[in-house]
Every structure is written in structure tokens, then in C-alpha cells.
Symmetry: C2
Subunit: 501 residues, 2 copies
């Protein structure tokens, strides 16, 4: 049989797997947004069934056969770059799945449910010791997972690659170490600046219906197409979906309007990335997002680079004032800009500002790295956390609820996930730097409310490229440079020094 025929079959399989994926996303969305309180158990059974089914369909021995038939075919090289990449991604997912014994996957899934339950309790009661046995278990599962995938590679490298293909400990170190140093220095200047924002602006009461109106007004401004998406309420903001049906959620806190407004910009940034995938590649492996880091670069870009910029508010502040009735009538433009760009060391990652955020991530990265390299013990995690918070952010952690217990990721066994968040910021800045070269007047355009150039640039270079390359390769293709911290540091300095100093 011709290589193209095997290839077509594989693409057919990929399409079915993508369908299962979109179904799973929809069921998950419904779980967060619509689930009747007493149907949690029934829904969990349904969701386990979908993951089992997906796993079964992915690990079907026919798939292994097809991959072989294509890759060992004498005409393999006649496949285009995109086609070869499709085979490569399919193979990567297949290998990752086939190497895990079914029993292991089941045991871990069951342990994860329990672990998250215990973590919730431990977080509520500030009891790290209660959580410790479950955490140890999830840590062991992660190690085992990495060993199944590649018994010869360093464990943490394998885990990092799971969330951000192509990234290693060494690469993260080379970006995060200088970023850490530079950030600490910048932070020091900002917090000691004489000028400080009046953050009471951020906690003026804005009724829910006004926040909703604001959200619906701003989403189309940055290019999120609500004809192919929707906004709903959930406990945590998130984005889910694919091409023509990409949905975001937010939550409304009447005494902290940025909690909705910037979450919506953030999630809409994710959503735009999904909506703008290349329709010609729909259902192909390359027709999906590149990596968590690139995904996060798009959300952060819209939330921070655009959404907290002076230029954005130059055209949007009047509209904002109009929609919020008279709530902000007395607030001067500069005071508003300073307030939404408040920088301050704080305890909770998800509430951190743009500058300190990466320090929260680097802390977690270093802890994970040192854990897997055996340099620290899991029993000491709570204390080491406190020490690091002191070193990096200069603040004391009063208890573990506000410290090591704040995030769900480790409880869910997701070691290696955190670094992608900061990588998103790094990528966003590097992309912005290149965009500024291509569109020198992008800030002027933005300040008049013209986002077309920006949107088209992102669409062409980032969104439509889908998963054609691993993220570091993509970044180099677009910007001509290896991924680096320098653009983010430059962005911080250019933005915050004039603001504060």
C-alpha cells in the first residue's frame, strides 16, 4: 500500500480521537458550569468512561501498526513537513499512552481523586501533615510515570516534556535563573518607589450585572468571537473547546472588579488562540495548540501586555466609565493605570501581579526540581516553601494554607506543569518584541482602539501555526532567537520604571 494511504488512515484515527477529546471537553465544561449538585458521582463515572474509551482508542494496536507502516515506508520522505509532523505527534501521544500499564493508570486516577479530597481538607484546616502521605503517593506516581516513559532520562526532564514538549530542566534553568535575579532587582526598585498606587480603586463596588456588561463589551474588542463561543460563570475561570465552539468562564466579585475583568481578558486570550487555529488542519494533530506555554503566552498577552497597558486604556477608559455608571468618574487616568498595575509581593500565586507572578512559579519549579533531584525531602516541603518565599519575595508565610497548600496541582499529581505559566510570560514578551519590529506603530494603533494589526500578526505567526513545531522551535522561527528571559525583563523595565520611578 502507498504511504499516503496509511497516512490517510492514521489521520482518520486522529480525527476520531479529536472528536473524543472535544466530547470530553464539553462534558467537563458542563461539569463545572451546569452540574446538578447530586449528580457528581454519576458524572464522574461518565467521565472515567470517556477517558478509558479515549485511552482504548489511542492505544489500539492498529495505530501502532499504522505508525510503523508509515515511518518504515520507503516513501516516508515523500510526506510533507506537516504530514510528517502529524505522524510524529500521533506517535508521541501513542507512545506516551502505550507505555503506561492500564493498572497504573487506574490506580493513579483513583489515588488522585482521594488525594484531592484530602488536600481540600488539609488546606481548610492548615494541616500539611494530613496531606503529606497523599502528596508522597502522588509524587511516587509521577516518578513511576516518568520511568515508564523513559527509564534512562532524568525523571523531571520527562515530566517537564509532558506539559511542554522540548523543554528540559537545563533549559528552564537557563531562562528562570537570570529572570529571577532580574525580577528581584526590578521588584526592589518598584516597592521602594515613592509613588505607589491607590488600590482602593480596585475594590470599589461594581454590581455583577455591570461586570457582566463590561465583559460582554470587551470580549469582541480583543477579537473573541462570541458567535463561536460563550461566557459563563464557574468557581474558577477557565477556557475549553475547539475552533467553532470555544467557551470561557469567569466569576463575579462585586468588591473586586478586576477579578472578573482581567480574568475575562485572560481566558479570551486562550479562546482566541483556539478559535484562530488553521481551519484547513481541523482534526489533524497539527491543528491544535502548540504547548501550554504558548497557550499561556496568548492569555497573558491579552490580559497584561494589552489589557494593562496605558494604550489600551487610552481608547477604552471612556467606555469603561460609561458602562460602570459613575463609579469611576472621579478617578484620573494615571491613577487608574497605576492601580491596575500595582506590584507587591503577596502570598497567593493566582492573585499575584505580572512582575511577582514569575517568582511564585520559579519557587515551585525549584522545589519540584530539587525534589526530583533528591536535594530536598518532601517532608520538608512546607518549611522550604516558607524559606523560599522569604528569599524571593521577602515575605513571611503565616501558615501552610497560604503557603504550600494553596494550589491543587501537586495534589493532582501534576508535577512539571507550573513552569509553563512563567514560560508563557517569557514567550509573550519575546513575541511582543518581534511584533514591535514588524509593526513599529502597534502601540499607537492600540491607543486608538485599532487592534487589527496586532490580531492579524498573532493569528499569522502563532495561532495558525498550530502544533507544527515544538514551542522552542516555533519561538525561534518567529523571532529568530532562542527562547530567552531578556525580552520579559526589558518589558518590565520599560513598563514599570516610568510608571513608578
Amino acid at each position: 500500500m502507498k504511504v499516503k494511504e496509511y497516512y490517510k488512515k492514521l489521520i482518520g484515527k486522529a480525527k476520531e480521537l479529536r472528536f473524543l477529546d472535544t466530547i470530553s471537553m464539553l462534558v467537563g465544561w458542563d461539569y463545572e458550569v451546569n452540574l446538578p449538585p447530586k449528580s457528581v458521582e454519576q458524572r464522574s463515572e461518565q467521565m472515567s468512561y470517556i477517558s478509558e474509551l479515549s485511552h482504548r482508542e489511542l492505544t489500539d494496536s492498529d495505530n501502532g501498526q499504522l505508525i510503523k507502516q508509515i515511518m518504515e515506508h520507503p516513501d516516508y520522505e515523500t510526506l510533507t513537513e506537516r504530514e510528517q509532523r502529524n505522524v510524529y505527534i500521533f506517535k508521541r501521544e501513542y507512545d506516551r499512552a502505550i507505555k503506561l500499564p492500564v493498572e497504573f493508570v487506574k490506580e493513579r486516577a483513583a489515588a488522585r481523586v482521594k488525594s484531592i479530597e484530602i488536600w481540600k481538607k488539609a488546606k481548610k484546616t492548615d494541616d500539611f501533615k494530613l496531606f503529606l502521605p497523599a502528596l508522597k503517593k502522588m509524587f511516587e506516581f509521577a516518578k513511576k510515570h516518568a520511568e515508564y516513559l523513559d527509564p534512562d532520562a532524568p525523571v523531571y526532564d520527562t515530566l517537564l516534556d509532558l506539559y511542554e514538549p522540548g523543554m528540559t530542566v537545563a533549559q528552564y534553568n537557563s531562562i528562570f535563573s537570570p529572570l529571577k535575579e532580574a525580577t528581584v532587582e526590578i521588584l526592589d526598585k518598584i516597592v521602594h518607589a515613592e509613588k505607589q498606587p491607590d488600590t482602593s480603586i480596585l475594590s470599589r463596588t461594581v454590581p455583577k450585572d455591570i461586570q457582566e456588561k463590561l465583559a460582554h463589551d470587551v470580549m469582541p474588542v480583543i477579537g473573541y468571537d462570541l458567535q463561536r463561543g460563550r461566557l459563563d460563570t464557574a468557581v474558577h475561570p477557565f477556557t475549553t473547546g475547539f475552533y467553532d465552539d470555544v467557551r470561557i468562564t469567569t466569576r463575579y466579585m462585586e468588591d473586586f472588579w478586576p477579578g472578573c475583568f482581567f480574568a475575562v481578558l485572560h481566558e479570551a486570550g486562550h479562546a482566541i488562540y483556539e478559535q484562530n487555529q488553521n481551519p484547513k488542519w481541523k482534526y489533524e494533530p497539527v491543528g491544535g495548540y502548540c504547548s501550554m506555554g504558548i497557550h499561556e503566552s496568548q492569555s497573558r498577552f491579552h490580559e497584561n501586555t494589552l489589557g494593562r497597558s496605558k494604550e489600551f486604556w487610552k481608547f477604552y477608559y471612556d467606555k469603561f466609565k460609561e458602562l460602570t455608571d459613575e463609579i469611576f468618574d472621579d478617578v484620573a487616568f494615571d491613577d487608574f493605570i497605576l492601580a491596575i498595575n500595582k506590584v507587591e509581593p503577596s502570598l497567593i500565586r493566582v492573585e499575584a501581579d505580572e512582575v511577582t507572578y514569575n517568582l511564585h512559579i520559579i519557587l515551585r519549579f525549584e522545589l519540584e526540581r530539587d525534589l526530583f533531584e533528591g536535594k530536598i525531602k518532601i517532608e520538608d516541603l512546607a518549611d522550604t516553601w516558607k524559606d523560599k518565599m522569604h528569599d524571593l519575595l521577602g515575605i513571611e508565610v503565616p501558615n501552610d494554607t497560604l503557603g504550600v497548600l494553596q494550589d491543587t496541582h501537586w495534589a493532582g499529581g501534576m508535577f512539571g506543569y507550573f513552569p509553563t505559566y512563567a514560560l508563557g510570560n517569557v514567550y509573550a514578551a519575546q513575541l511582543m518584541h518581534k511584533m514591535a519590529e514588524d509593526i513599529p506603530k502597534w502601540r499607537e494603533e492600540l491607543s486608538t482602539g485599532n487592534l487589527d494589526g496586532i490580531a492579524k500578526w498573532l493569528q499569522k505567526h502563532v495561532h495558525e501555526t498550530g502544533d507544527l513545531y515544538d514551542a522552542p522551535v516555533l519561538i525561534k522561527k518567529i523571532t529568530g532567537k532562542e527562547p530567552s528571559h531578556i525580552y520579559l525583563v526589558e518589558y518590565f523595565k520599560e513598563k514599570y520604571y516610568p510608571l513608578y520611578c
Copy 2:
């Protein structure tokens, strides 16, 4: 291998199929309730994939093998009645699926989509001729479908059995013919009665939020558990789901509040039936609804037998008045009861009252029957419709939009479906008759707002029995009598003669 082991495997397969079914229902619900306008095509692809997958999983040759291994096993008789029924239902579904060539199923699905589009246009423009070719095609598909399933049986019998297992043309004739005659007679008395309702009560403006409040108040009253369900808005009211997650929809017309109120009672009746399935049989074939007719008996019972009864309003009218502010303050109880029980020949089935409704169905049944028996031609359907409306309801049909084009069923190829609606009314009355023997004071209890006895009786006799028997057998088991029209006729006379005459 022991018969029990084969059986367990089959039940495992049934459970997986049920999961797929619940997923399909959820995706369908989301389509009606939440779909972003421009994701129709993407969702359609997703839904086709789910049906293909379900079909593939059902027709898996392993299933045929298992069925054989069980039914031909020397110890087959050691299986309990329930277990044998599970095998029987599984086999019935398997046979129905395996007998249809995949190509046929695909062609029909594609033709259906087109047919429904054409029907929509034809209905809008009152153009039966435009619809005719598509209708003919769907009619041929239905014939072919029946022939694939059983080449020796009369076509319409096979189709009727698809929607209502165990029912034949002869059985429907034996119920519908006398029901028709009796109804025409009753109707004649009612429409010529001197006392007639003031139906302006029904079109008093009730704002949407009040209708919503009413709906949320009344649902728990009749036993619909909103901890395991939810109410949303959709173009047409419907019920979907399973056990702990059963959802209903309604729509709000501010100038016709019964359009929401009674639709909610109707759908909640369906929902209660699903919520009350026997949890011990969850995911087994018997742990689902018995038939469309039995399902409809539960919706009709709650909408009409309870919801339009004097006794229900004896305890609920004060609450109704309170929730609707002062809108009905001047309406006397008897006038209200008469208004919500208005009987009048009308053109549209879905708007018909309890008494004339069955005539709308019998008309459709007779047309389908005569079509498949070759007694009338499909070209003449629009005219025959008009003649029959004249004969049965004594009204002239001014155009086909209000006549043969009003329903979507035939456009979708669902010949044999309509009769189950009227059968639901027949069953509801027969069940009520038996319930009245078991709980002689049920109407007194109802009038004090005590619905416990009624709910428990339905749960025990109807809901928890699931699909253990075909509907006619179930009705005989519960009531001791074959399904018959006489209880419905009796119910009409006992209810409407005192009201009108």
C-alpha cells in the same frame, strides 16, 4: 465458561453503551440549550461521530457472540427473569442495528438532514409540493428500514414496534377506533354546552421572571428533584437524561402562561420517571424506561390528570395567586379551572387540549396506516389531511402550514412514532383507574397538597419496574387488564361532564 460469566460480560457491554447514550443525551441537550450560533456544523459532526461510535460499539461482533453463548447455553434457564430480560433487550437492540447496512444508515441520516431543511422551508411558504419529494424519500427509507428488520412482517407493524415494542396495527386499531368514536361524541357534548370558559384568563400577561418562579415552585411539589436535574430554556420543551441528572426545558410566552406552566408539569412528569428508575439496575438494559407510551403516560399524568385537576388547584391556587402578584386576584376558582380545561377543536396538535389531542393523533395514525397499506397515496396526503380534520374535528384547514406540514416527525422519517402520544393518555387513565382502587382517597389527599401516596404508587408500580416488561404486559401486570380505551373515556366523562354540562 459459566452462563453467568458470559452474562456479566454482556452487562458490561450494556453499561458502556448506556454511557455512550448518556453522553449523546448531554451533547444533544447542550445543542438545544447552549450552542453558540456558528458552531452548528461542528456540533453536527461531533454528534454524527457519537452515533457512529454507538452503532459500532453495539454491532461489535463480540456482542453477537456473547448473546449466542448465553442464549444457547445449557444453563440459560438458571438466569433470573430480570437477567433474561436484560439479554432479550440487548439482543433486540443488537438485531435492530446489525440488520441495517451501514451505507443505508448513513444515506438516511444525510437525507434526513436535507429533508428537515426542506420541510422547514415548505412549512414557512405553505408549499406541500416542495416538501413532497423529500417526504417520499423518507417514506421509502422507512419502508426499507422495516424490510431490513423483518421482510415478512407488515411494514407498519415493524415500525410501530420500533417505538412501542409489542404494539401492532391491530392493537392500535382496537384501542383507537372506539376511542375515536367516544371522543367525537364527548367533544360534541362539550362544544355544544352552554357553559364555556373565559379563556382570556390564559392570556393575561405574566412576566417571564414570575413564570420562572412558578416553575421552580411547582416542580418540587410534584416530586421532580432539582438536586438531580435542572430547568433551562429551549425553543421546544423537552426532557433528557438519566437517574441523577435528568434535565428539562421550557420556553416563556409572556402572554400565554400555560405554555410554560403545563409544559413544565409535562416535562417534569417525564423527568420523575427517569429519576425514579430502580438504582439497583442502573446501567442494565432493564434499568431504563419501558416505552415511549409509558413515558408519555407519566408526563400526561402530571400535566393533565394532576395538573389540570380541581383537586390540585384546591391546594395550589392560593400559592399561584401569591406568586403571580395580583394578576389573578379577581379570578374565581371555578372560572380558573374551566379556563385551564378549555376544550375546543383546533388546527395544531401541540396546542390541542386533553380531549381533542387524541383525535389529532388518531388522524396521523390512520394516515400512516393507510399509506403503508397502500390505501392512500402520499401525493394526496395534504388533501386527505384536510378531509380527515373535517371529519374528526369538524374544522376546515386553511393551508398546509396549519395542516400536514405542522409536525417535524415525517420530515425526520419517524413514521410510527405519533401513536405513542395517544397511547400515553390511554395508559395514564388506565393507571389512574387502578391507583384509585388502591388509594381510594387519592383525590382528597391531592386536594390537601399531599402527593406522597400518588408518587409512591407510581414509583413502585411504574417507575421502578423500568423495562422489565413490554408496555402492554406491564399495564396488564399493574392493572390486571389489557390496555383499553375505556378508562380514558370514563375519565373524560367524569371530568368534563360536570365541568361543562
